[in-house]
């Protein structure tokens, strides 16, 4: 597997099209500098609220698609959650949008052809199609497992059916595909496809479950995590989670620059939202024994 670091750029893009896709909104934005540097798994960070915004932090979204039109466009697919995404949902064609990207560590791609299972939860599927494209160009077999709470929240089922060797859909309410979660369906898909690697993007609980399944099968798994972010390019230090390094040491690493894609078994899912006692620099931990900080309050 290989990966390349790219330099992000800031682009004031123009919204080309907007559309609704079931429960989601999709925005296509002209942003050549970002499109040309894009690799599957990259994200962009968007300023919201316009001039004199009351929202000083940025919002981060996976890039769903890039197209060569107008020098290069990127498409975002998003759910309305809070103030920033409601503002985004009101954007119209010709509005301008401040994007920074591409950001983060993209999905590493295998050097040689192999069988890949791509697992998406909710809008997490959005980042998988560009990946599938790349994998297929390299001769890989691609199988999809897409899930969500309900049918209207499963993103990209049609495209998955077109692209994938097989496509398995799951919904928690049973309104589409199998009733249940992606992790219920995953073992069979891995077995049937004789999968060599799993890629997953979706809610943290799903990534944890997918990682457990892959570990069970003893195959590598790459997960794209979602942590709350304020900048997306590494300066705010708010998007950290505990990840075990090559040296076996757990560090609080930024998911925007060191991630969002990590090897699943390296992410300490059960410890997210804490500072594990054995993490580098944890309060009371070894590294701090010599220091004066004995409480976790400063």
């Amino acid at each position: 597997m290989r990966e390349t670091a790219v330099t992000p750029v800031q682009v004031t893009g123009t919204v080309l099209t907007t559309r609704r896709v079931d429960a989601y909104h999709a925005l296509t934005v002209v942003a050549p500098g970002i499109a040309e540097r894009f690799r599957p798994g990259h994200v962009v960070s968007v300023a919201v609220g316009g001039p004199h915004t009351s929202m000083p932090t940025r919002r981060v979204f996976s890039v769903h698609d890039v197209k060569p039109d107008y020098g290069g466009t990127v498409e975002l697919v998003f759910a309305v959650r809070g103030r920033g995404t409601s503002w985004l949902a009101e954007r119209k064609a010709r509005d301008s949008l401040d994007l920074v990207g591409p950001l983060g560590r993209p999905y590493p791609v295998p050097r040689d052809p192999c069988a890949c299972v791509l697992v998406g939860g909710e809008y997490g599927s959005a980042s998988l199609f560009a990946l599938a494209d790349t994998l297929q160009q390299r001769g890989c077999r691609v199988d999809f497992v897409l899930g969500a709470a309900s049918a209207d929240r499963v993103f990209g089922a049609l495209r998955a059916r077109r692209m994938g060797e097989t496509t398995t859909l799951t919904t928690e309410d049973g309104s589409l595909g199998l009733r249940g979660r992606v992790t219920d369906a995953l073992p069979a898909v891995i077995a049937d496809a004789r999968a060599d690697v799993v890629y997953a993007c979706g809610p943290m609980a799903m990534l944890r479950g997918v990682t457990a399944v892959a570990v069970e099968f003893d195959i590598p798994v790459q997960v794209s995590v979602e942590e709350s972010m304020a900048c997306g390019y590494g300066v705010c230090m708010t998007c950290v989670l505990p990840v075990i390094g090559d040296d076996g040491v757990t560090r609080m690493v930024r998911s925007c620059v060191e991630g969002p894609v990590f090897r699943g078994e390296r992410v300490r899912f059960e410890d997210i939202g804490t500072i594990p006692f054995d993490a580098l620099g944890a309060p009371g931990g070894r590294a701090q024994e010599g220091g004066a900080h004995t409480r976790n309050v400063s």
Partner: protein, 329 residues
């Protein structure tokens, strides 16, 4: 007066240290410097103020560490950082290599720890100044924050001043959530501070009405961004009026050149940019450009002439005397 082609002399002094211009990053808002240098040339800034360096590496606070608030944000990053050893081995040399002037922020839990940091930094090449982050809990005083206690602040500053090389200015960084910012400022200057920096983030909180729990894992966090600019301007104004000879690094909600000019007119000779860097990676250089333009429009030949200018006695006109200690009413 300036002709349109002339440029404004943007040089400024942090105590006796000359900076090419007044715009710096704010402590803790530019990670190691590497991240921003993907976007801008750090050498073009007045200085880079580092994150607050601690003796040991620190993992910081648990997540969620951030919550957006109206025109602001709360953070409880908790001084995550590599510790002074790694800082001296790799972060500082990289800043120097990039041609950046480095103002090193330090944080400790006791006077001894601040002093130990100063000792480690005393001989490090490339330290343009030391900024003492006083918004840390004093483990020897039940975790009471240094910056809320004039005497404790002064003690830290005096010890750092005594330890650092004489030619490296020591800047005391103050927090606004005190009853009397001038008292803290005065204590720090009496303790030997060569300059003051303000404001650090006042303590705030937000509660998620869906989970019905505090939004931050740490409960409270520091409030930053445009929301706090009026508090920053007021602190700068009060301190500059009381201690007009002391150079001040102003910060708090600066997003544009106009905001920077507001702080300068209140008394800042250096302006740090924090939260704006999360909104715009080019913020520092954009603000610098906008500031220079505004100064030019107003006929300034030198930035220095604008520092504290809003304090000049009102000319003829119906303005009233401005009291310093006032109620908000």
């Amino acid at each position: 007066m300036l002709t349109p082609e002339m440029s404004v002399d943007m040089r400024t002094y942090l105590a006796h240290v000359e900076l090419a211009n007044p715009i710096t990053t704010a402590a803790g808002c530019a990670a190691s410097g590497d991240e921003l240098s993907q976007f801008i040339d750090l050498a073009r800034l007045g200085a880079v103020v580092t994150r607050s360096i601690t003796m040991a590496p620190r993992a910081g606070r648990p997540t969620p560490r951030m919550a957006e608030t109206p025109s602001g944000m709360l953070n409880a990053v908790g001084l995550q950082g590599p510790g002074v050893d790694v800082f001296l081995e790799s972060e500082l040399p990289r800043l120097v290599e990039r041609g950046a002037r480095a103002v090193v922020s330090i944080a400790g839990g006791s006077v001894a720890e601040y002093t130990a940091l100063a000792r480690r930094l005393a001989d490090a090449p490339g330290v343009a100044a030391i900024e003492v982050n006083l918004s840390c809990p004093n483990v020897e005083d039940l975790g009471r924050v240094f910056a809320r206690d004039p005497a404790a602040s002064a003690e830290v500053v005096a010890s750092v001043r005594a330890t650092m090389r004489y030619d490296v200015p020591v800047v005391a960084k103050l927090a606004p959530d005190v009853a009397d910012i001038v008292a803290v400022a005065r204590a720090c200057v009496d303790g030997g501070a060569d300059a003051l920096a303000m404001i650090n983030t006042p303590l705030g909180m937000s509660i998620d009405v869906d989970t019905m729990r505090p939004s931050l894992a740490a409960g409270t966090g520091g409030l930053s961004g445009p929301a706090i600019r009026p508090l920053a301007v007021r602190c700068l104004w009060q301190v500059h009026a009381a201690l007009p000879g002391v150079p001040i690094v102003g910060m708090g909600g600066v997003l544009t050149g106009r905001d920077a000019l507001e702080l300068i007119l209140a008394g800042a000779c250096v302006v740090s940019v924090g939260t704006a860097l999360f909104h715009d990676p080019y913020a520092c250089l954009r603000i610098l450009r906008e500031l220079e333009e505004l100064l030019k429009e107003r006929g300034f030949e030198r930035l220095a002439d604008a520092v504290g200018l809003a304090h000049r006695p009102p000319g003829a006109g119906p303005r009233q005397r401005i009291d310093l200690e006032e109620s908000s009413l």
